[in-house]
């Protein structure tokens, strides 16, 4: 199986190698001079690293904000587009466009929109009579601005999966419930949501795992600033390893992060199996 050989070579071997590096004071600038320092990197990481804690907090915050919003908007859109109205198909295609856009470009486009001087977002606010917002340079707002870009890009994904899920449900139970006089709310709570459980679960967990890995958008929009308020774990690892060249330490950070993601994926695989 050549496929497995390549996968092994490029994905498994580096992972093991990165664990070795994480036990050394390795630096890309001088790879020959690395010393074995046991678990010092990990001790440092767990005891003293405020930045990692901050990055982890930001990453979880973005994930919580974005995935919640995407789920709610996605559900709303899926039920809306489940109705019959003219132009449904073509409009459905149109709102899928953001999810196929290059993430870097999503970041650039939103940075353009959020520009403090001539950005269209502040213009719309001024039309509504609201004061301008420093979207990407206010420490209290930037995290939401970055989340908004992710929401824009990935709500279509949530919508698409949920819509597909709704369309594949059997018709009979809903007809029966309507004849028995069930209200729309009852239909939603007692029939749709329970029957969609598996699909919702898959969509949410895939999104959680993906947002935890968020990098491109942050890199382009804020580079983790202002004042580290949008610094994510991936951004932090990138900086430590490719700007400061503390490669060994970055590898240790990666391993801790990897374990977190692995746990999330394990939950994913188990839940999907369970739901089947």
């Amino acid at each position: 199986m050549p496929a497995f050989a390549i996968v092994f070579f490029i994905a498994i071997y580096p992972t093991v190698y990165s664990f070795v590096i994480s036990l050394e004071d390795f630096s890309i600038t001088n790879p020959g001079a690395a010393n074995f320092i046991w678990a010092q990197n990990y001790v440092e990481l767990f005891l003293n690293d405020d930045r990692m804690r901050n990055a982890l907090f930001n990453t979880v915050s973005i994930t919580a904000i974005a995935v919640t919003a995407e789920l709610l908007l996605g559900l709303m859109l899926a039920f809306t587009f489940n109705q019959n109205f003219p132009g449904n198909g073509i409009m459905r295609s149109a709102i899928l466009m953001p999810m196929m856009t290059t993430s870097v470009c999503v970041g650039i486009i939103w940075r353009l929109i959020f520009n403090p001087n001539f950005g269209i977002a502040n213009y719309f606010l001024s039309v509504l009579g609201l004061p301008p917002v420093l979207w990407l340079s206010d420490v209290n707002v930037a995290l939401f601005a970055v989340s908004l870009a992710d929401i824009w890009q990935w709500t279509p994904f949530m919508f698409l999966i949920l819509f597909t899920g709704i369309r594949s449900l059997p018709v009979a139970p809903f007809e029966a419930a309507k004849i028995d006089g069930a209200s729309n709310w009852q239909l939603l709570r007692r029939l749709y949501l329970p029957m969609l459980k598996r699909v919702v679960l898959i969509a949410v967990i895939l999104r959680i795992i993906d947002v935890l890995k968020i990098f491109d958008i942050v890199y382009v929009m804020t580079k983790g600033g202002p004042a580290m308020s949008t610094d994510t774990v991936t951004m932090y690892i990138y900086r430590v390893s490719f700007d400061h060249f503390h490669t060994g330490y970055a590898a240790a950070l990666s391993w801790v992060f990897l374990v977190i993601i692995m746990l999330a994926s394990a939950v994913f695989i188990r839940y999907v199996r369970y739901a089947e």
Binding site: I6, S93, L96, I109, L112, Y123, F242
Partner: protein, 277 residues
């Protein structure tokens, strides 16, 4: 009467949601396109100039001064080779997983899936070092290998979900008529998967084309891909917005078109076969 009002109201709600979601989804694209064709002197005007004489100056500048044609070529080369590679390898692997019973078959499938879960930045460090020692930094080879590797699991899993749906009896009847295992696969199963193969090809092309992190760390000027160049226009100060917007359109445009082509398979592709569309 009250029923009529109710229908009317619910139609109104539907229309409102549909229209506002369309505006939210499409306005940013519109704005990027408008910025890329706006004359420079109107760019910073507030309130914005909605009507103006469009110009292609930014696109000319990007191709002439920023030599974007080179990066476009890099993107096309890396994307096409890595996609073909991973679809070839992934389809064979999917066939093996779907048709042969061997020990560890299921755990192999979930292992492949967990590779997809890897945050790229985690493997970026060792892959960078590996590329450094193998003298592969700043080559197409390393990008192709990395992209293919990251996409093989996805291709495998999606293709497996397609092959699982093709009854094995078709192959068996072919084998009774004198096909070998291999020719049964090549002549019978493979043609039946044509649409599926095309869609995973497009899907892996989208993933490779859009990739940013490895494109940044593994390349220098000669092998940079489009997203990397687009990302580099976002400096901390003094962004050249006109050309940057043009570059954004050039980078994102092709994959938007491709994505539209495979809409039918998008659900299965993006959920790695977990939800069938």
């Amino acid at each position: 009467m009250s029923h009529k009002i109710k229908t009317y109201l619910s139609n109104l709600v539907v229309a409102f949601i549909v229209i506002s979601s369309l505006v939210f989804a499409l306005f940013p694209f519109y704005w990027a396109v408008v910025t890329s064709i706006k004359p420079n002197e109107l760019l910073f005007q507030v309130p914005p100039a909605w009507v103006f004489e469009p110009t292609t100056k930014n696109y000319e500048l990007v191709f002439k001064d920023w030599k974007v044609a080179n990066f476009l070529t890099n993107s096309v080369i890396v994307t096409s080779i890595s996609s073909l590679l991973c679809v070839g390898a992934g389809t064979l692997a999917a066939f093996a997983l779907a048709r042969f019973k061997f020990r560890g078959r299921e755990s192999l499938a979930s292992e492949l899936l967990s590779i997809r879960m890897f945050p790229p930045v985690v493997v970026a460090i060792p892959i960078f070092i590996l590329a450094y020692y193998l003298n592969l930094l700043n080559t197409y080879t390393i990008l192709v290998l990395v992209y293919a590797t990251f996409n093989i699991p996805i291709v495998t899993i999606i293709m497996r979900s397609f092959i699982d749906e093709i009854p094995i009896e078709i192959e068996e009847s072919g084998m009774i008529d004198g096909c070998t295992r291999v020719t049964a696969f090549l002549r019978i199963t493979l043609p039946l998967c044509r649409d599926a193969i095309l869609s995973v090809l497009v899907l892996s092309a989208i993933f490779s084309w859009n990739e940013f992190l490895f494109g940044t760390i593994l390349t220098r000027m000669e092998t940079r891909t489009l997203p990397v160049i687009a990302g580099q226009t976002m400096t901390q100060r003094g962004i050249d917005w006109g050309p940057a917007a043009a570059l954004t359109i050039i980078t994102a445009g092709p994959m938007l078109l491709f994505g539209m082509l495979i809409q039918k398979y998008l659900v299965r592709g993006m959920t790695f076969g977990a939800v069938k569309g």
